[in-house]
Every structure is written in structure tokens, then in C-alpha cells.
Subunit: 273 residues, 3 copies
């Protein structure tokens, strides 16, 4: 049950190591705290191995990728793998520059990621270089819809098999798949796309779910994705007519802060294919 995965985060309060971008890092920290986890941000190659050792999971996000922190991503990722910690990759903007695409691919080659989470265009860029991106947003032509859902599910499973990872592709419909099984999740609101970093926040949250649910990673990943979408729905219901995207950002994190297992079980909308 998704609710149990959530309750495990609250009970186990995992410490999550984040090497992430400076755009959305504050919201990532606050959503981790809202979930019951603890964040630590550390990106210097001189300390990341030590830091990740005291943590329960590692979240690598390339949203403001730069030469200073790339070696830290590899060092921390390899150390976390050695220790058996779950490691997540958020390949923000893969497809938008060679630096991002190549670094993301090299990371997948050298690190055994538990989950790779991105939009459909980023995942296509990772797999085959065939995705086009609009900066850090998915290209409309790539979007997973009800009409091309079977194709999307097949792609997610194939990508998962290719990387030996769980793949979480988020958009209007979210897909969370390993090579054999795909959760199709229909929580969320389109207005979440008007807030910077809901994807980054989800990646942090997802890492906490992985860290708190060892041995049950696929369901934990699906639960995290569903909880983020449900938070978007609950937060939207609390919006006043003049509230906009900045207030919506706060209310989504607030909704994660208040969510319990029963709420998630009651609100989760998904099927397994």
C-alpha cells in the first residue's frame, strides 16, 4: 500500500544527501522536511563521500550542472552504490546541451541508479538522443497521453530494462516502471507545471521514499509520485481566486507536510500494467 510507504518515511526519518541545482534547492529541502525526512546538501568533491556515508539515500540533479560539481556527482554516486544506498538521477535538461546529455549518460554508465526520474523528453534524450526538449520542459510532441499510453508504457519498461533502474517519467500521466511492471498514475494538476521545481522536489521526495522502503523500491517510487500529484490536487483545492503559482508552491509543500497514509491511500489514482 502506498500509505505504508509514506508512513515509513515518517517513522524512519531518512537523511537524504542532495547534489542539486541552486534554483529549487530550498523547496527540495522543505519538501523533504515536510515528508518527515531530513535533507543535507553537499556538493564539494572533498566531502561528498563522507557525507553520503552518513545518509540513507542520494539524489543527484543536474539542473545547474557545472564543472565544479560533476566530479562530486560521480564520487558520491559510486560511494553510495558501494554502501548499498538508493541513488536517484534527475537528468534535468538532458537533450538541451551536450554537457547535460553526455554527463547524464556517463552517470548512468558508471553508477547503478535505483531510479531515474525525468520528463519524457529527458528520458528519450538519455536513451537514444531522439528526444527534443524545450529547455527543462518536455516537448509537447513527446507527451504521454491516453492515446499513446501503450507506447509510453512500453518505452518506460524498455528504458528501465536498458538502465537496470526503475524509470519514473512524469507529466500529465506519470509512469513508474521497472522492466516488467508499470504503474500508470493519474494524480496531479496541470498547474503544477507553472511552478519551478515540482520535478526537483519530487526527486528529493522520491529518494526519501526509497531510503525508507528498502526491498520495495518500485512501489515506494510509485507512492512518492502519487503523493506529489495528490499534494498538487489538495493544494489546488485550497487556492483562493487571486492566488497564483507562488502561493501554489507553498500549499503543495504544506499538503505534503499534512499528508498521512490514509489520505494517500484514499487519493491515489493508479493502475498497474
Amino acid at each position: 500500500m502506498f500509505g505504508t510507504c509514506l508512513e515509513n518515511v515518517r517513522a524512519r526519518t531518512p537523511l537524504v544527501h542532495n547534489i542539486t541545482n541552486y534554483v529549487t534547492v530550498n523547496d527540495v529541502a522543505n519538501i523533504l522536511l515536510a515528508s518527515g525526512a531530513s535533507p543535507i546538501m553537499s556538493d564539494d568533491v572533498g566531502e561528498v563521500e563522507e557525507i553520503t556515508t552518513i545518509c540513507a539515500g542520494l539524489n543527484i540533479n543536474i539542473g545547474t550542472l557545472n564543472a565544479r560539481t560533476i566530479p562530486a556527482m560521480f564520487a558520491a554516486g559510486k560511494k553510495a552504490c558501494q554502501l548499498g544506498h538508493p541513488v536517484l538521477l534527475d537528468p534535468v535538461g538532458a537533450g538541451a546541451s551536450s554537457l547535460r546529455t553526455n554527463t547524464a549518460r556517463q552517470l548512468t554508465e558508471q553508477i547503478d541508479f535505483t531510479v531515474i526520474r525525468g520528463n519524457i523528453s529527458e528520458l528519450k534524450a538519455l536513451v537514444a538522443g531522439s528526444g527534443s526538449t524545450k529547455g527543462v520542459d518536455a516537448d509537447v510532441a513527446d507527451a504521454v497521453t491516453e492515446d499513446n499510453l501503450a507506447e509510453g508504457v512500453a518505452f518506460a519498461k524498455a528504458a528501465a530494462a536498458r538502465f537496470g533502474s526503475i524509470v519514473a517519467i512524469t507529466g500529465a500521466i506519470d509512469l513508474v516502471a521497472d522492466a516488467n511492471t508499470c504503474y500508470v498514475i493519474r494524480n496531479g494538476r496541470p498547474e503544477m507545471g507553472r511552478i519551478t521545481g515540482t520535478g526537483c522536489q519530487l526527486s528529493g521526495l522520491l529518494t526519501a521514499y526509497l531510503a525508507a522502503n528498502p526491498g520495495n523500491e518500485l512501489e515506494a517510487a510509485a507512492a512518492a509520485v502519487s503523493s506529489m500529484g495528490l499534494a498538487g490536487e489538495l493544494a489546488w483545492a485550497r487556492m483562493n481566486p487571486d492566488d497564483g503559482n507562488s502561493t501554489y508552491r507553498n500549499r503543495i509543500i504544506d499538503a505534503i507536510d499534512h499528508m498521512d497514509g490514509a489520505t494517500l491511500n484514499g487519493g491515489a489514482k493508479y493502475e498497474v500494467r
Copy 2:
């Protein structure tokens, strides 16, 4: 009409490349999304030319200037100019250190900026080294007021002529000028100065307006400045007695999220000199 400039941002959804400071970057991203534009933040010299190529405009802000990102500012700026993209400079803290003043001046010498936006002290520092700053805020002695307005307008036009750029000088009264024409804009609230980064947010927004209104840059710049001030007024009207600057920050971005062309046309307060 200012409203048309705003509607063009919503219709054309320009992707804006930001090389900006890590203090206010999240708010810059959210206000760009609120306006209908899309942000991408990228500051590594290894990718900025590629990133700016897929964008429609470039926003360079020196708020946390450092040796790592200076080369990226020059590389991205030159590439954007070659491509005919609008490029904006926000010389945060010019006058406060030699590094900032000199880097900002070198940027203006090597890059053909569409708009230079700052407070009056920063612009004076850029022009003649005569401005004094109080950190990142304008010196009171420099302020443009109703009493010295003619002088301020003349300075703005002269600075615009000097740099071959539109100059946007923001403060209690905002001036947006090219060498011949100056918009004098009286939107805004003094309380906006108690929020970090309203200037940085405006620079991001302004770049989106430039990108969505090619061939009409002066009016687009004035429209962006007016819309930010109007958002400050509309947001202030929604404040509860115990709300303070953090809530005000959210409400201003919310107001941009809800603003349409008719609202801007109705609320804009300006004259042309």
C-alpha cells in the same frame, strides 16, 4: 499598448536563458513562469552557448558574481548577440566592488545589450564611476524624485546613447529610455524594496517581454517595468494586517500570474518625455 506586449509573452511563451545570482534565482524562475515564459538557468562555460541558442533571450545578472561564471557571461552574451537575441544586463552592486564595476563595464564594451536595468546608483557607477551604492541598494543621494526628474530623464537618455542600449532605471519613479524617448513610470509601492530580488525578478520578466516583442523593444521594456510595479500595487491590496515581506513576495508573483493585457492597460501609470 502595454497590454499587447504582455499578451505576446503569454502567446509566444519565450524560453529565457538566465545567468543569475543564487539569492533570488527561484523567484526569477517563478515570475517567468507566472508571465507565461519558461526559464532555464545555465552558467557553465561548457554549455552556455548551446543553451542560449535554443532560447529566445538572455538575462545576465551579476548579483553573486564569481570567477567561475564570468567567462560564461561573456560567452553566452556574445553568442546571443550573434543570433540576434535580446540580451539584458542587470549590474547588481556595480559600484560596490571593483570586480562588479569592472566586469559590468567590460560586459557593456563587448556585448551589445538590448537593455541595461539597474538602480540609479548602479547606472551612475557604470557610466562614470560617480555613483555610490549602499551594497545592492541605491544611495538615497542618487534617487530620482519629482524634484530632479528632468535631470534623471536627461541622464537616462544620455546613458542609453552612451551604451547604445535601452536603459531601465528603477526606483520610486522608473525611467525606461533610449537616446530620444523616456517613459516615466509611476507604478509600484515603496514596500517592494523590503523584498529581496524584486529588481532581479523584473530583469527576468523584462527579458521575456523583449523576446516576445521583437522590433518593439522600448515599449516592451516599459510595459514590463509597469507590470512589475502594478503587480506590487495589486499584491499590496491583498495583504492582511499581519502579512509581511515574505508573503508580499508570494503575492507579487501571484499577481503577475493573474495579470492580463486589459489589467495592465488599465493600471499602467506613465508618461513619455
Copy 3:
């Protein structure tokens, strides 16, 4: 009186130089503005001496410590000391990595800090390497409680004597001590720990209080700590049932924005030991 210390910040509007982490930097800037001070963030070794010279106080925070900014911390700290400016150290995560522990210790050896502010585990790591941390949070085993308060007060005074600094140890009970005198402060709410960066915000605020109250540093430090806790109480009283940690963050900064000397005098809860 604590209220006078607060009013001095509003009257003197000190410019505070911050070399701080990119996680919570926006909130640090906004809380400084809320208090009546002005923030400037600058971390490049090529400008920090110039920047700190025009400021009235320096806040050094190692929350995202990295090789690029370490030399800037030493250069700015030494310059600020030469100028007689108050300098604060926030040793975020000391004890969590050798880089953090060693850098924090070297900073204390080479710079004469006015105040060192951290949680109990960070201070223990600084003093003797005996503290254990849970990332950037204090270890429960280290916590200062009513039961071990005498021991905590003795530790704070001893640490202050050791470093020749005021020591501010924040937690459920806050201790602000020099070698002879310790303020025991009981303002605050446990829910403040679910927001990222309330400690970082306090360090910025505390530096403003020091800068505005020369010659009265111990009381000023205690006043700043009390005001932050009181803001947490006042903000909590304004929370709606569905509000969570993100909204709470905004309301705390809002409460600082509205606080005056009389409110602080009326709400401060402390004793001197």
C-alpha cells in the same frame, strides 16, 4: 532591554555581508530586510575584502561549503576583524564531514569571531570532536533539556571561554553565553525545526543585531535569538489548520517584519545564569 537592541537595527539599518549557503540564502536576505537591515551576498575571493569594508558586519555560514568559497571566508573574516566589524560563524554540519569540521576549526583559529552560533552537536564537534550530528541537525543525545540544563550552561560558558567569542547554542532551549554569563532563552516552537534554514536565518539576523549594537554584543545576541523564537510563536498563532512548513516559513519572516521593541520586550522569555 532586548527591545532597544531591535529598535537599533531598525534605526541604523546595518548592511550585512553574507557568505552563506545556496539552500537558504533567499530566506536569509528576506529576514534581514524584514528586520530593517540590508543584505549583500558576496563570496568571490576577488571582491570579499572590498565588500566587507562597506558593510557593518559579516556572517559566515558553511552550509554548502566548497573549495571555491573557503578562501573567501578567510579573506573576508580577517578583513572584517581588522576593521573592527562583528563577525559571526555558523558552522553548519560541523561534525558531519572532515572538510566542515576542519574548516570551521581553522576559521576559529584565524578569525576572532564575535559570535559562534550553531546547534549543540555542531558546537561539540568544534570544541572537542565529541559531538555526533545527524547531517545538519543536532543529535538527540546531545540536546539541551531542562534536566541537563546546568551542564549545558557550563558547556556554553566553557566554549565561549575557549574561543574568546560569544556562543549561541540553539535548540529547544537556547543558550547565549560569554565566559561568565549565560542567557537561557525559552522562546520558539518545535515546528521551527521542520523548516529548512531557521538557524541560517537567525545567524543573518544575529549579525544585524551585533552590527547595530556595538559594545552590547551579548545582550544583542540574546535579543536576536529571542526575537527569532518569538517570531516562531507569533507565526504559529497565525497558522490555519491546513497550513504547513512552507507557509510557516513565510509567516515567521512576516512576524520579524512586524516586530517592534515593545512586542519583543513583552514576549521574550529568558533568565540569566
